[in-house]
């Protein structure tokens, strides 16, 4: 190998090593500290134990917040999937006047009216409606933000599904409801599942909406509780924080692995693969 090629090789390996270290190092704490009997801030080989998880129940808000997260994320997931699917089907199959404009308008809107840009008016809106400190309110806000993208993707998916299935059922005498139940739903399942998972993951990781709309600590989800664990004054309770982080982060990681295995990482961005 020529010296040039050798140097290039070395540079390449070095680059990948640095990159790997850069990304891995901050995450290492998450795999060592939760299982460490006396976890510190530094990453170190742990004194293996599962005690930290057992002691989670000592914190009044750890498990309740996880339950709240399930509630909020699950609620958003259901609403986004159901409302999104209904709207996407109607937009795909029925000649609604101006549907192209509606779709693009919606998508544009959701990119512009982000959680951050809308935090003030939403807060004030919910305050006026008396929905502050109400988990239903949070679910509704989350759903509203996720729906445009969901509808866009689902409509694309429906468009790609041949209409002959529905028409076939119709000629055999099925009513529109029967067509939807017997034919459309089963065939659309993979698309619906993808959107459901996407909505779930997004809502599970939400911080801002819950942070500004919920006051009662028994109602706040894991994302906000996690923040209070380490931002409230005094010494951070590392055994608590580490164990809690794992429980909070685990569902998302598991879902990612599951979706990746099942469908491959379908990338919706500038390019679809």
């Amino acid at each position: 190998m020529s010296p040039q090629a050798f140097l290039r090789r070395v540079g390449f390996v070095l680059f990948l090593a640095v990159v790997t270290a850069f990304w891995a190092l901050p995450m290492l704490w998450l795999v060592t500290a939760p299982f460490d009997a006396h976890p510190g801030l530094t990453v170190r080989w742990p004194e293996w134990t599962l005690d930290n998880f057992r002691r989670l129940s000592e914190s009044p808000y750890a498990f309740s917040s996880l339950r709240n997260s399930v509630l909020l994320a699950g609620g958003a997931m259901i609403l986004v999937t159901v409302f999104g699917a209904l709207a996407a089907y109607a937009l795909s199959r029925v000649h609604v006047p101006g549907r192209g404009a509606i779709l693009y308008g919606m998508l544009l809107l959701s990119s512009i009216v982000t959680g951050t840009a809308a935090m003030v008016p939403i807060f004030q809106l919910m305050f006026t409606l008396g929905l502050i400190d109400d988990r239903t309110g949070v679910i509704l806000v989350l759903t509203g933000g996720l729906l445009p993208a969901a509808i866009f993707v689902l409509k694309d998916f429906m468009d790609a599904t041949p209409r002959s299935y529905e028409e076939s059922a119709r000629v055999f005498g099925a009513s529109p409801t029967q067509v939807l139940r017997h034919v459309v739903l089963p065939i659309a399942r993979p698309g619906l599942a993808t959107i459901a998972v996407w909505a779930l993951v997004n809502a599970w990781g939400d911080f801002l909406t819950a942070y500004i709309l919920l006051r009662d600590p028994t109602k706040t989800p894991a994302g906000v509780v996690m923040y209070t664990f380490y931002s409230e004054g005094g010494q951070a309770n590392l055994p608590l924080i580490s164990a809690f982080s794992v429980l909070y982060a685990l569902p998302v990681v598991v879902l990612y692995i599951f979706v990746n295995r099942r469908y491959g990482f379908r990338f919706h961005g500038g390019i679809k693969s």
């Binding site: 982000t114 119709r170 961005g269």
Partner: protein
């Protein structure tokens, strides 16, 4: 013949309208109304407490003029610009591109490991990664200090902007990496090989073959992640805007003033400005996408 393909199940217009109603209702309530509401609320001096809460006055563009002369706002805008430039336009784009480029020729295992790590940084919940970095950057016992042999450095206090910029690069590169990965695989290999056979080195290949193909993607990607970074609230979880406003990017500024400080009218006006900026970026993005097609 678009009519013929429509309405395969015989839904009919009224039922279709009913199907779309719940979604449209929610979208109107939580996207359209808040957007319009910033305009209305931003024209008042509404506050959460005190006289202005009970009796808000119409101030028209008063909030905007106040913002323009408010040094805090100007400072926040400047910080946000730095943040977007450093973290998105340069950081994530370059990192994503170099990762995508290098991983093409890396062994499968290495590729899988690196991609998974980068993706994990993206999908882990924000408060978790925020704490991971708080711990990582911590003065006493932070892993970074241990590795760099710089004991006693409180990164978040001494180098706050740098910290959140690096953090955001770490957090967000996954998107750019995936996008460029897909874009690079769309570059015809025959063109790359012709260049290589003609003696072009890596840099020349990049410049002459790859870049023309991905130029469009670079632009749209940069716009998109700029939009996201501009609206990113996560740095709040690391510094809450401190120390002493040193990292008070616009999202944090709005939160601190309006929701923490209770100046809802003022915060609304600033939110409105933010919406305008978002609109400009988004329109640019759509325009570019359409041109690319």
């Amino acid at each position: 013949m678009s009519d013929r393909a429509a309405d395969a199940a015989g839904l009919g217009r009224p039922r279709a309208a009913a199907f779309m109603a719940p979604a449209l209702l929610l979208i109107t309530a939580f996207l359209v109304v808040p957007a319009l509401w910033t305009l209305v609320l931003g024209a008042t001096n509404y506050r959460l407490t005190g006289l202005a809460a009970a009796n808000p006055q119409f101030v028209g563009t008063g909030n905007i003029t106040e913002a323009l002369s408010d040094p805090g706002f100007g400072w926040s805008l400047w910080l946000t610009l730095l943040f977007v430039l450093g973290s998105a336009i340069f950081g994530q784009s370059l990192a994503g591109l170099s990762l995508a480029w290098s991983l093409r020729s890396a062994p499968k295992v290495v590729k899988a490991v690196v991609e998974t790590l980068v993706l994990m940084a993206w999908i882990l919940p924000s408060s978790v990664v925020a704490f991971l970095w708080v711990a990582y950057l911590s003065r006493h016992g932070g892993t970074l200090n241990a590795i760099l042999q710089t004991p006693g450095t409180d990164w978040l206090i001494q180098h706050p902007m740098a910290s959140i910029i690096v953090f955001n690069i770490w957090r967000g590169t996954a998107f750019s990496m995936l996008l460029f990965s897909a874009a690079l695989s769309a570059v015809p290999p025959s063109q790359m090989e012709s260049a290589r056979l003609a003696g072009a080195g890596t840099l020349a290949q990049l410049r002459d073959v790859v870049f023309p193909h991905i130029r469009g993607h670079v632009l749209t990607n940069t716009l998109l992640i700029s939009l996201w970074t501009f609206n990113d609230f996560t740095p709040y979880l690391l510094t809450a805007g401190g120390p002493n406003h040193a990292t008070e990017i616009l999202p944090v500024f709005i939160y601190n003033r309006a929701l923490y400080g209770g100046e809802l009218g003022y915060g609304s006006a600033i939110s409105f400005l933010m919406l305008i900026i978002n609109l400009v970026i988004a329109l640019f993005y759509v325009r570019l996408l359409r041109e690319r097609r």
